[in-house]
């Protein structure tokens, strides 16, 4: 609050530009603390009721063997860490779903980065209809994940356009059953995700590229650097913070991957495309193993919390000082 008092003299001059008269009932009787409380309290209540309480319930549940058929949650038997050890030691489906999510994430993020950067670099040039094309390239990220999933489900049908295009390009009869074959299904999921979210990389990287100061680039060019050298030695290092932000934001989103996969494959064939979210969903809402599902959810929660805080280390300062 010291900032308020120290900046008062400057405020005096600024008030000249603010002709609004003071209302009669100026003091509301709220102290500073009261005001802050009034402002922040609703948000805190919502977070508490709708995030903290459910988490506590889930934590309790994960130590029991409760399922909806066994009556009230309070009568459930306490089983200690049994669910957790079962998941981590014996449940290969769970462990595989984690590894699979990690694999899909890494492939998707790499592809999205390469395509997004390539497109952003193209947008540094001048051409007609640039702003229209910019909007066009952002279109995928504005579409609902569910709709994206459904659209690609149609595209990848055996008699669908993707196989037709393959036939057209390679001449051979393409009767690929995309969702019946594990590698194909994973490919379909990855292609869908890359199509959907490359625009975000493009958007972030382009705004980063546009913010790069011209002088170092000019200096390098004058000193005889080739365009390739300028890109690798000047532009890319200066773009690094923005690249990290893009990766962090996208990793946080992609570890939650659910909607598109649900529409595309429901995790199939077998469990070939089952992500963490999809596995927990199936445990809890198809098999009604709610306590077991809650334990799985908690492992994921702790894991993603750890991962997120590791990921946030490089961008923490940047997000903190945003606008300050």
């Amino acid at each position: 609050m010291t900032a308020f008092f120290t900046s008062c003299p400057r405020a005096q001059t600024a008030s000249a530009a603010q002709p609004a008269p003071a209302p009669a009932s100026a003091p509301t009787g709220l102290g500073l603390k009261g005001l802050v409380r009034v402002l922040v309290l609703p948000g805190q209540i919502v977070s508490l009721l709708v995030l903290v309480v459910p988490l506590l319930v889930a934590l309790y549940m994960s130590f029991t063997d409760w399922s909806p058929t066994r009556g009230s949650l309070f009568d459930a038997t306490f089983v200690g860490f049994e669910n957790y050890s079962e998941l981590l030691i014996y449940d290969t489906r769970f462990v595989y779903s984690i590894l699979r999510t990690a694999l899909i994430s890494m492939v998707c993020l790499s592809l999205e980065f390469v395509f997004g950067l390539g497109l952003a670099v193209l947008f540094l040039r001048e051409f007609r209809g640039k702003s229209l094309l910019f909007s066009a390239f952002l279109t995928p990220m504005m579409i609902l994940p569910v709709v994206v999933g459904y659209t690609f489900w149609m595209l990848f049908q055996t008699n669908g356009p993707v196989n037709q295009i393959i036939e057209f390009l390679f001449g051979a009869q393409a009767t690929m059953e995309w969702f019946r074959n594990a590698p194909c299904a994973v490919t379909a999921v990855i292609l869908t995700e890359v199509w959907h979210w490359t625009p975000l990389f493009f958007l972030i990287l382009l705004s980063g590229l546009n913010a790069i100061p011209e002088n170092p680039v000019r200096a390098a060019v004058i000193l005889g650097a080739s365009p390739r050298q300028v890109f690798w030695c000047i532009i890319l290092p200066m773009l690094k913070p923005v690249i990290i932000v893009a990766f962090v934001i996208r990793s946080m989103e992609i570890i939650k991957l659910f909607d598109e996969v649900f529409m595309l494959t429901r995790g199939g064939p077998g469990s070939a495309t089952e992500t963490i979210s999809l596995y927990i969903y199936k445990l809890a809402f198809n098999d009604f193993q709610l306590a077991y599902g809650a334990a799985a959810a908690f492992i994921v929660l702790l894991g993603s919390l750890l991962l997120i805080h590791l990921l946030l280390v490089p961008v923490r300062e940047q997000i903190m000082k945003a606008g300050r």
Binding site: A22, V46, L144, I212, A297
Partner: protein, 286 residues
């Protein structure tokens, strides 16, 4: 930087990228105007010879397809549209209003603790599947399951970190001196915020509202697990069409998909200059 023109090979490359980006959109729109005979033709028909709006009519009148010999097989999407609009609009408004107050509080009187933003951000990053389980239990005990109020509550909670954080970045952009001038004119702090701060971040407030609308309108998983028969939203209805009658209702599903997508694309283009800020929690500003 280098303002050189686009050479022909690069222009072709960009053209190819544009086709890849727009093809799925083209496909879903084309499917939405295909008559039932073209839906699942083999080989697939790219552009329908007789475009029709029958699929869109079927969304609200399940018997409309009768003319094509496809009986009242589909469930009307009226309830889903109603549910989506009701839950999305109410939750968006609530989230933005609560977020606005919290944003002013944090931005102007926050203790600059490093923990606060991280706590807010972490809340957003949990996989929804992990929070969905306890929600279903609690909601079924307090009678909020399968109700619009339940969806409303969860949408507000899930989007609140976004609205708070995005609005905070707009309030931060505003010099404190402007509010302080109003306070010196004799207004209370609260009045200064209400009459000075809020009007000055109007643009940001609008962009945030639209962004939260996008998030709520797209939300799928919570709606899926928290609704049974009373409540439905468009994404859930879309998934239901796929499960219930896989392979038979392509056109109707596509029509619903287009119906769901049009407002978002429209809104998205409008706030496109704020999208980078929204998606990166203010770490990137354009």
């Amino acid at each position: 930087m280098n303002n050189r023109k686009l050479s022909l090979p690069l222009a072709l490359l960009m053209g190819a990228a544009l086709i890849v980006v727009l093809f799925p959109v083209f496909w879903i729109v084309m499917t939405a105007i295909k008559p039932p005979t073209d839906w699942n033709a083999s080989p697939a028909i790219w552009v329908p010879s007789e475009p029709t709006l029958i699929n869109f009519r079927t969304l609200f009148d399940p018997e409309a397809l009768g003319a094509y010999g496809v009986g009242g097989v589909s469930q009307a999407a009226t309830k889903a549209v109603y549910g989506s609009v009701l839950a999305t609009v109410s939750a968006t408004l609530a989230s933005v209003i609560i977020g606005l107050f919290a944003a002013i509080g944090i931005s102007r009187y926050g203790n600059n603790s490093k923990a606060t933003p991280l706590v807010i951000l972490s809340g957003r990053m949990f996989p929804p599947a992990a929070i969905a389980v306890p929600f279903v239990i609690i909601f079924s005990n307090v009678g909020l399951i399968d109700s619009y109020l339940g969806l409303f509550a969860i949408y507000v909670a899930v989007t609140l970190p976004f609205s708070t954080w995005m609005l905070k970045s707009f309030v931060d952009d505003l010099p404190r001196e402007i509010e302080e001038a109003a306070m010196i004119d004799g207004r209370s702090r609260l009045a200064a915020h209400l009459t000075v701060t809020i009007p000055l971040i109007k643009g940001g407030l609008f962009a945030t509202t639209m962004f939260i609308f996008i998030l709520n309108w797209s939300e799928f998983m919570f709606a899926l697990v928290l609704s049974y028969s009373n409540v439905c939203t468009i994404p859930v209805q879309l998934a239901k069409y796929v499960t219930a009658t896989a392979g038979t209702l392509y056109g109707v599903q596509a029509a619903l998909a287009v119906f769901a997508m049009v407002p978002l694309v429209f809104v998205g283009y409008h706030i496109q200059s704020h999208l980078a800020r929204a998606m990166t929690f203010g770490a990137i500003k354009q």
